[in-house]
């Protein structure tokens, strides 16, 4: 099947460094959208700030390139206003797991039907190479010349424990595999996290393509049961000589939007009429 990827291409060429992992993510996202035959006009891609967050502008979808760490609440508001939109966040590890962590934890307990793709390069790239929340302990960066002293965030374990209903990890060096994870994340009803190893070829000389290729293996090749919470949590902590990618965990729970079905009455909020004078008069009666 020849995919029509070019309809998802924007007018602006990506300005990422040659070899940047984010190219693979962009490619995988376009593939996923093409496989789902989604009209780019029905897709809203929300980002924050960082190298990865320039992604919306490189597509032909509607985009929202907001401020650092705040993509998730913007996406939440937009999805609630118009649930007919496919809402995707494309963010970085600093964006989502650092400054935006408060939103990340809370969005998962809500289970709103959005897909969050984290381009995790374990470094702050756009600010020229400081340690990030996912930098490994001991990693020497501009801000940690003697090595990172903090333990890294474990986003997969956090997401499983935090109530995410779809938790996956991909590798931008394998965009076909990643596209499948993103596609399934989009079709999943509820909150989906796709954490992506997306190497920074300029500022992260530790976690390179080769570094990942030597370690990663696919969960689906091992008989992993993504419906099992226990297996998922166990796999989430495997981060050493072997690092799993693929779908860790999937489950079903009512979505956040479903709580408001009495309000929507089957129609997106954005299409609701304004109150009539009679309706307003009726509310005024309450004040007598």
């Amino acid at each position: 099947m020849a995919l029509e990827l070019k309809i998802y291409r924007g007018e602006v060429q990506p300005d990422w460094c040659p070899g940047c992992g984010d190219f693979g993510v962009l490619n995988a996202l376009q593939r996923a959208l093409a496989e789902l035959k989604l009209d780019p006009k029905d897709v809203l891609i929300v980002s924050g700030i960082g190298c990865s967050s320039n992604l919306p502008g490189f597509t032909s979808c509607y985009g929202f390139h907001g401020i650092h760490g705040r993509a998730i609440p913007v996406a939440t508001g937009a999805k609630l206003a118009n649930p007919e939109l496919t809402v995707i966040c494309t963010v970085g590890d600093g964006d989502c797991y650092g400054i935006g962590m408060g939103h990340f934890i809370h969005v998962m307990r809500r289970n709103i039907d959005i897909t969050v793709i984290v381009m995790n390069n374990q470094i702050y790239g756009l600010t020229t190479g400081q340690a990030s929340p996912t930098s490994l302990k001991g990693h020497k960066t501009k801000s940690t010349p003697y090595g990172v002293v903090d333990e890294p965030i474990n986003p997969i374990a956090l997401a499983i424990a935090g109530g995410a209903t779809y938790v996956a990890r991909g590798f931008s060096g394998d965009p076909i595999h990643l596209a499948k994870l993103i596609k399934d994340g989009i079709t999943h009803k509820g909150f989906a996290l796709v954490d992506v190893f997306s190497p920074c070829v300029t500022f992260n000389r530790l976690n390179t393509y080769d570094w990942f290729r030597q370690r990663i293996y696919k969960l689906e090749d091992t008989g992993h049961d993504p419906r099992s919470f226990e297996q998922a949590i166990k796999k989430a902590y495997e981060f050493g000589p072997k690092i799993p990618i693929g779908l860790f965990y999937v489950t079903e729970r009512p979505t956040y939007e479903e709580n408001f079905s009495d309000i929507y009455k089957g129609i997106p909020l954005v299409k609701h009429p304004f109150p009539s004078k009679e309706e307003i008069e009726k509310i005024l009666e309450e004040f007598y």
């Binding site: 007018e11 029905d42 320039n54 307003i280």
Partner: protein
């Protein structure tokens, strides 16, 4: 005979003072009387000392006044803490167990001892019922028929069953009859003329803002709990299903504002409310809303600051914070409604301006306005909606979201429309929304684009300014003194002007509502003609005085500034005016 009478209920938090005040307000407005209610409380849930005060009149009331006339106190604290604010020859209603001497009061008063506890015990095991007994006593003292109270009790407790209703009716009647019998000859210095055919409605500033927003078609409301604006959240939450509004209470104020911006970006009218501390957290996002041109309405209900400050007290200390919110130059609107009634209209105006100019609009209120409950006779419910330039399908070829136009306002498309994809960017961008911030930053052609985009956004303020009605003086054109104030203080100023008139002093007022963009020329033309000027503000730093000086070069030397947490009162202004004119 006075045409206004003020009742204060005092007790500890948890004593049910709020409920009594609510019944009192209902009773008055359904009897056709006007009210202005306000309260004092602390950041405690049980204990402490709280009061709720209802000013009642046959005519419209503009402020909560200076002194009260009738004190209902459930404990000795009322004598210690409230009596200083009681007028001479006031009435103190208390249980015989609350003992005090004339010296404790220090001015003439009528002692109305009512066995509140004994009657309460007779009808209920709940000590809170002594409030209802006291209410009966107050209603008699006010010269109102028991029927009015009876009807309100029947209504307020209608869902609680006959037992609760009868218990409250009996308790109220006991208090009413006791005062009628024992204190029947007590002189009254006031005259209320109730007329149930002239029933009023009453709302708080918070309710007026919420109801106004609903009437303007607000469909999305997000908030993090914070005094004094939490009642807006409660109103929306309660009306969510009935009014078709999605209400969310996210993890923090940053999520609040960004959710609302997301909802507004997708095309619904969205509002948030917070106080000074929460607004500080929002400010980076307010700057973003200006940059990406998303219409959003933000209520900032000021309270005692700095920092956590006096969280249950009023202040006008955040003027500079809202003006300077966020980084850089971006167009915004700041409106300061001057009364509860105006808060309703301001909410509607804010949504129309936000969408017409695609900018953030801040409604700057304060705890005093947010929590004051005021009777009203009428609101104009013929709501005019202006959604600004929302493009239709097929309307424009070569769509540019940030197209440069005469007014700076560009065609706004909503995500999901077939023909107009674009990315809204918080980075500087060109007319199409493409970034000029990264690889292109600083290139010669980009310097021009940067300037053009900055000027495009900022020139909206020129047109916004033209839209504002010109400021008008309250009172006579000719006056010995012009009082300058903004927002909620205008109520006390108006009342002060009436008082001064009785004493032959002519005063008028410039009450500023449109704070940003600032009507520099108009304000200057008014101030320059004034014989004397007095600045009245509920803050330490005279922020409005500074703003006026910045825009007009006029420095107002005489100031009445209050920052102890209480609202400025009419008599304070009267005294200050006399002091100035006597010098």
């Amino acid at each position: 005979m006075k045409d206004k009478i003020t009742v204060r209920f005092a007790g500890a938090a948890g004593d049910g003072i709020e409920t009594v005040a609510e019944i009192m307000v209902k009773l008055c407005i359904r009897s056709g009387l006007h009210v202005y209610a306000y309260r004092g409380y602390q950041s405690v849930i049980r204990g402490g000392h709280v009061w709720s005060q209802i000013r009642i009149s046959n005519n419209r009331i503009y402020s909560f006044g200076d002194f009260f006339d009738i004190l209902v106190t459930l404990n000795k604290d009322g004598i210690l803490y409230d009596v200083p604010y009681m007028s001479a020859n006031g009435y103190i209603i208390h249980d015989p167990s609350v003992k005090f001497k004339y010296e404790d009061v220090g001015k003439p008063y009528y002692d109305i001892s009512v066995p509140l506890i004994e009657f309460a015990k007779k009808f209920s095991r709940l000590p809170i019922v002594q409030n209802t007994v006291a209410l009966g006593a107050v209603v008699y003292l006010l010269g109102l028929s028991f029927e009015y109270l009876k009807n309100v009790i029947l209504d307020i407790f209608k869902d609680k069953g006959d037992e609760v209703i009868n218990m409250n009716l009996n308790a109220a009647l006991a208090g009413y009859d006791y005062v009628k019998e024992v204190y029947k000859d007590i002189p009254r210095s006031f005259q209320l003329n109730p007329d149930p055919n002239k029933r009023k409605f009453a709302m708080s500033g918070n309710q007026a803002l919420a109801f106004g927003a609903y009437s303007a078609g607000c469909k999305f409301y997000a908030a993090y709990p914070m005094t004094p604006v939490s009642p807006i959240l409660h109103w929306f939450a309660e009306h969510s299903k009935k009014c078709g509004i999605i209400v969310v209470q996210p993890e923090d104020e940053i999520a609040v504002i960004n959710m609302a911006i997301g909802a507004a970006h997708a095309g619904v009218r969205a509002m948030v409310a917070t106080s000074g501390g929460g607004f500080s957290l929002m400010s980076e996002s307010v700057s973003m809303a200006g940059m990406i041109e998303v219409p959003i309405v933000i209520v900032e209900g000021q309270r005692g600051a700095p920092s956590t400050g006096l969280p249950t007290k009023t202040e006008q200390g955040d003027l500079r914070q809202v003006l300077g919110a966020g980084q850089g130059s971006y167009p915004k609107i700041v409106l300061a409604p001057r009364s509860v009634e105006e808060a309703f209209y301001t909410a509607i105006e804010a949504f129309n301006l936000a969408e017409k100019y695609q900018v953030p609009v801040i409604i700057l209120t304060d705890l005093y306005l947010n929590e004051s409950i005021v009777s009203l006779e009428k609101l104009n419910l013929d709501i005019k909606i202006d959604r600004g330039w929302l493009v239709n399908e097929g309307e424009i070829k070569d769509y540019k979201r940030y197209m440069i136009t005469e007014t700076g306002v560009s065609p706004r498309a909503l995500p999901g429309q077939r023909e107009y994809n674009y990315t809204a960017a918080s980075d500087e961008h060109d007319e199409k929304g493409h970034l000029i911030s990264d690889v292109l930053a600083g290139l010669p052609s980009m310097l021009k684009i940067r300037n053009a985009m900055m000027e495009k956004r900022m020139k909206k303020e020129k047109y916004i300014l033209q839209e504002f009605p010109p400021p008008k003086l309250y009172g006579d054109e000719e006056a010995d003194i012009t009082i300058v104030c903004w927002g909620s203080t205008s109520g006390a100023v108006r009342e002060a002007i009436e008082e001064l008139k009785k004493e032959g002093i002519k005063a008028n007022a410039l009450e500023i509502k449109y704070i940003h963009p600032f009507q520099a020329e108009e304000v200057k033309n008014i101030l320059i003609k004034a014989k004397r000027l007095l600045l009245v503000e509920n803050n330490y730093s005279a922020f409005m005085g500074g703003l006026i000086a910045e825009h007009t070069g006029i420095i107002i030397k005489d100031k009445l500034l209050r920052y102890d947490g209480e609202p400025i009162t009419p008599l304070q202004i009267v005294y200050k005016v006399k002091e100035i004119l006597n010098n």
